[in-house]
Amino acid sequence: MSRSIGRLGLFLGVGYAFLYIPIALLVVLSFNDSRLITVWSGFSFRWYVALWHNERLIEAALLSLRIAAVAATGATVIGMAAGFALARFGAFRGRGLFGAMVAAPLVMPEVITGLSLLLLFVALAESVGWPSERGVTTVTIAHVTFAAAYVAVVVQSRLSDFDRSLEEAALDLGARPWQVFLLITLPLIAPALASGWLLAFTLSLDDLVIASFTSGPGASTLPMVVFSALRLGLTPELFALATVIIAVVSLGLLVALKLGRVASARSGG
């Protein structure tokens, strides 16, 4: 038995090494004084200073954060409704189509989603005059659309494995359905909504392809700027940027893990 545990541990070790060696490389190189990735010429924070003064990157990052916050909120509202409908409404008319519309964005190649949304925006602009120009608004709508599917999956799976008896008890005690939803269902699925929002936020922040298709001049998101910089070659500033993102994400996940532990200890599970 212990031999098989050892072998499983080996699989995990190799897998995690594969996942983390590239990330470790990004972090190490961000502190390298040299511009070249070949030579280590001493420890330095100079690339972080350079990053801080890189207005193009900072501006793009702020724009991306703004788009991501709005898109994640929109995606959470729509995804919650979609997940709720799929988990609770049983067999309604059009369920097949609805389920397909919710599941397909999860796997749809980004070039297809991006191109089709752009062509929609162009067709709309021609026929109804909206959107008059492409930019922040169109990117945000595009991000809401594909991120809503992820939120829907998270909400649906949370709803399908929780105990309905609380809701039924509340209904038996005379609560109106909307009261049941606000007072019982919503607090119970709150963790799923929070992780759905974060997922949507990250997906929006990270998206290059769909944003490239749906954006217009003057609205370059962070991935668009990073991508055009990458095409010219690696720069240590980008390593510094990666390290900042990794630090923020790790911190966020640690907090989430702690909160999750507190929550599960409280609910006794």
């Binding site: 545990i5 499983l8 699989f11 897998g15 594969f18 996942l19 983390y20 590239p22 490389l25 990004l26 190189l29 990735i37 729509i78 409704a81 409908a85 799929l86 409404f89 609805f98 389920g99 397909a100 519309m101 919710v102 599941a103 397909a104 964005p105 796997v107 190649p109 980004e110 070039v111 297809i112 191109l115 089709s116 062509l119 929609l120 162009v122 067709a123 809401v144 659309t145 809503a148 999956v153 399908s160 809701e167 039924e168 209904l171 359905p177 290059l208 392809v209 991935p223 990073v226 991508f227 990458l230 690696l234 940027l241 990666a242 993102i245 990794i246 994400v249 966020g252 996940l253 999750g260």
Partner: protein, 295 residues
Amino acid sequence: MRLRLPSGRTLVLALPFLWLGLFFLAPFLIVAKIALSEGALGIPPYAPVLRWTDQGVLTIVLNLGNLATLVSDPFYLEAYLRSLRVAAISGMLCLLIGYPMAYAIARAPERRRNLLLMLVVLPFWTSFLLRVMAWIGLLADNGVVNNLLLAAGLVSQPIPLLYTDFALYAGIVYCYLPFMVLPLYANLSKLDPVLLEAAADLGARPWRAFLTVTLPLSLPGIIAGFMLVFIPAVGEFVIPELLGGPGAQLIGRVLWTEFFQNRDWPMAAALAIVLLLLLVIPIAWFQHVQGKAAR
């Protein structure tokens, strides 16, 4: 007993239905329309399919030229085939690496599982582009791997690693691995260990119990994971562009070039429609598995 939300119910359903209908479903019809239109110089760079003739008659002008080119020009055909092959191989590689990981996490002590799972997901939360960049740093001629090989005296000059199929697969597998591990873990963690004990009691060796009990029962997880890797990988643009060789003309890259460099919107739309037709069956299958898992 079912929760009844007479008016709320319609509202809850209508919001996502209308949004996704307008911004996800309707665009495909427009893509199909534009794939059948002629290219034109102007903004937008395509001619209308429906137009009025001088005599005031509404005519439909369909241009099947783009689709004909796609089928007859071996360049496009090869790009499709290569994309399908690369995506399938990437899916298999993810399965080979991801299955043992998911299995090991599912068998780990319960208090450790959350942490182990989080370690798989964490890279996915960091920037995708910057993780691809890390592979450039690893595989470039003056990158870490070549430096190590040179220092160890294993090679006398840098071996080409970046802009090869190897870099392409490494990048895809690296970026998509979490999508394989998560559904597999969800499936394997639900597996009742009693079944394996029963198999052992009946005299099955561990590997035999695995092949006859665990593997067949985890098939839905394998299919879901494979589809989550395979389908988006077919249209992948960023990884082939940054890591793959100039010969790796995958369909996502071809579509991008037609759209952004050649400004041939009808051709890009035709490429997208054919790609979508190729993926309809895998997507439907994925949706079927997904729907079953949720119920």
